[in-house]
C-alpha cells in the first residue's frame, strides 16, 4: 500500500501542476474581482463586493448581458431546430449524395471563427444586412449548427428507426411518431446540443465583434472595458461570465448524464 502510494507521488504532482496551469488564471480572475482597491494586482485586499455593485449598476454592461442571453438562447434554439431537421432527413431518408451533404454540414467545424466572421462580414455587406445582433445570431448559428447536427445525428441510428417503424405499424401518424417517439428518445441529445451551443455562443467574441455595432454582446463589452485599462470591474464581469458557463455545464451534466444513469 505504502509503496504504491509512493509510486503515485510523481503522477499526483504532475496532475496537480496540470490543473494549476489550467485553473490558475480563472482563480486569479475570480479572486481579484473581490479586490477592494483600484487595481486587480497583488497584494489582495478585501474581500469586497464593490466592483460587483459597480457592474450591476452599469447599464451598458447590463444591456450587453441581456443581449448575450438573447443571442445565446435564440441562436442555440435555431441551431438545435435546424440540426434536428437535417439529422432527421439524413438519417431517415436515402438521398442521393447524402454523404456529401453530411460532410458539408460538419465542415464549418474545421474553419476558424475569424475566417467565418470575415466571411459573414463581407457577405452581410454585399447583401445589405446591417451590423446588428441579428447578424450575430446568424453567425452563431453558423458555428453551432454543425455541432448540434453531429450530436443529434449520432443518436438517430438503426435502433431508433426501428422504434419509429414500430410506432407507425401500431397506427401512429407521422406527427405522433415525432412527438411520442422520436423527440422523447432524442431529449438528452437535444438538451446536450442546446447547452453546448449556449455555452459557445455565450463567450464567443470574434464573430460578435466583427458583425455587431451599437448593441453588443458581453464579451465585446468586456473587450472595450479592457481597452481602457485593467480594472477589478472587468474581473467581476469576467467572473459572472465564468459562473454562468459553469452553471450551464452542471445543468447539462445533470440533465443529460444524470438522467441516463438513473435509467
Amino acid at each position: 500500500m505504502m509503496r504504491r502510494a509512493f509510486k503515485n507521488i510523481p503522477a499526483v504532482v504532475y496532475v496537480a501542476l496540470v490543473y494549476l496551469f489550467i485553473f490558475m488564471p480563472v482563480a486569479v480572475l475570480v479572486l481579484f474581482s473581490f479586490q477592494d482597491s483600484l487595481l486587480p494586482i497583488p497584494p489582495f485586499q478585501g474581500p469586497s463586493l464593490r466592483w460587483y455593485q459597480a457592474v450591476f449598476s452599469d447599464f451598458r454592461i447590463m444591456g450587453a448581458l441581456g443581449n448575450s442571453l438573447m443571442v445565446a438562447v435564440v441562436s442555440s434554439a435555431l441551431s438545435c431546430l435546424l440540426g434536428f431537421l437535417a439529422a432527421y432527413g439524413l438519417a431517415r431518408y436515402t438521398i442521393r449524395g447524402s454523404g456529401v451533404v453530411q460532410w458539408l454540414m460538419v465542415a464549418p467545424l474545421s474553419v476558424s471563427y475569424l475566417i467565418i466572421g470575415m466571411g459573414l462580414l463581407i457577405t452581410f455587406k454585399t447583401m445589405g444586412i446591417p451590423k446588428s445582433l441579428i447578424a450575430v445570431i446568424i453567425g452563431h448559428v453558423v458555428i453551432n449548427l454543425p455541432l448540434a447536427f453531429a450530436i443529434i445525428y449520432s443518436q438517430m441510428g438503426e435502433h431508433q428507426a426501428n422504434l419509429e417503424r414500430a410506432a407507425r405499424d401500431l397506427g401512429a401518424a407521422e406527427w405522433q411518431v415525432l412527438v411520442l417517439i422520436t423527440l422523447p428518445l432524442l431529449w438528452p441529445a437535444l438538451l446536450a446540443s442546446f447547452f453546448l451551443s449556449f455555452t459557445l455562443s455565450w463567450d464567443e467574441f470574434i464573430i460578435a465583434l466583427l458583425v455587431s455595432r451599437f448593441d453588443v454582446t458581453l464579451p465585446v463589452e468586456i473587450w472595450s472595458l479592457l481597452r481602457s485599462g485593467l480594472n477589478p470591474k472587468t474581473n467581476a464581469v469576467g467572473s459572472l461570465v465564468f459562473i454562468v458557463s459553469i452553471i450551464l455545464v452542471f445543468v447539462t451534466e445533470f440533465l443529460v448524464f444524470g438522467r441516463r444513469k438513473s435509467q
Partner: protein, 354 residues
Amino acid sequence: MKPMVEIKGVSKRYGKTTALSEINLTIDEGQFFALVGPSGSGKTTLLHILGGFVEPSSGQVRIAGQDVSYLPPARRPTTSMFQDYALFPHMSVGSNVGFGLLMRKVPKPERVDRVAKALDMVGLSDMSTRRVHQLSGGQQQRVALARALVVAPKVLLLDEPLGALDLNLRRQMQQELLHIQKKVGTTFVHVTHDQEEAMSIADVIAVMNNGHLEDIGPPARVYMKPKTLFSATFMGESNMFEGKVIQRTGEHIEVETVFGRLQVSGAAEPGATVHLSIRPEQIKAEAGGMRQLVALGKLKVEEVSFFGTHRRCQGRHATSNHPLILRLPQNQPAAAGEEIAIAVQRDDIVLLAQ
C-alpha cells in the same frame, strides 16, 4: 375458409437486383402461415411488403379483400412483432401495450381493460408498471406480442421474433405462440430460417429461394413430398439422385437409376433426366419381410452417430458408390464397414422439379 391475404404477381426490384419475382400466394383466415428460406431468399422483403414498410415494384396485395398495396403501415389491418422487439424504452410495459389503442383513440377505461387482458394472455399481468429494460428477453418478447395483438389486427406479422432466444426458450415460445394463435384465431404470418420451427408451428409453409416460391403446402406434405430440389434440401436432410426416364405408364414413370430401375409416381417424358429424393428415415435397413418394399441393394456403412431418437448412418451404395444417409432405429447399432441391405417404399421416392 376465406382468403385473408392475397398476393398477386408481386415483384420487388432494387435497381438491377430482383428481391422478389412474381409471387402469387393466398393465406386463409385464421391460418398460421410460415415463410421459410435462407437469408436473401426474399422472405423478409415479402413480409415487409405485407406490413407496408416496403412498396412492391409491381403486383397487388389484398388483405381482407381490401387492396393495401400502397397503403402506409398505420392504415393497414396488420401489426408486427419485430426481430429486436422494438419496445419503446421510455414507456412502461403498460404504455407500450396500450400504444396502438391510444393511436386508435380507444377511450381510456376500455384501453386499460384491454391492456390488462392482453398482458394476462401472455402471462405478464403484474408487470404493467415495469420499465421495459427491467424485463428479461423472453418477457420483452411477450410484451411485443401483447402490444401487437391488443389492437386486434386481422393479420399479425412475425419477423423472426424467436431468433435471439436460446434453444429451450425458443421451443417453449413456439408452443406458446401456437397456443395463443389458436386462442385468438388471428392469421399469423411468421418468417423464419429455422425449418423445424416452421414445421412445428405452421399450418402452411411456403419455402422461398432467390426471390421466388419453391413450394407451398402443409408441413407434412412439404417435408415428405417436396416439390423441388431446393425444397427437398432446405427442409431437412435428404438423399438426392438422378435418373433417366425409361417409360411412362399412367400415373407412374420407370426410372433408370444407380439403384436400378425404380417405379416412381409422377409424370415426366421418356428420355428425360429427373431428380429424385428419399428421406433418410424412409430407407429401411431390413429388406426382407415386407413385400411392397423396393430393394435398393446394399449400403456400405461409413459413419454412424447416435442422435437420441435415432442413429444417423452415413455410407455409400455398394455397387454405384452413390452417397446415402439413412436413419436407423435406436436399437439397431451398425458399425463402419458393415454392409446392410436397404429398401424403400415406392411412395417415398419423390420426383422433384428442377
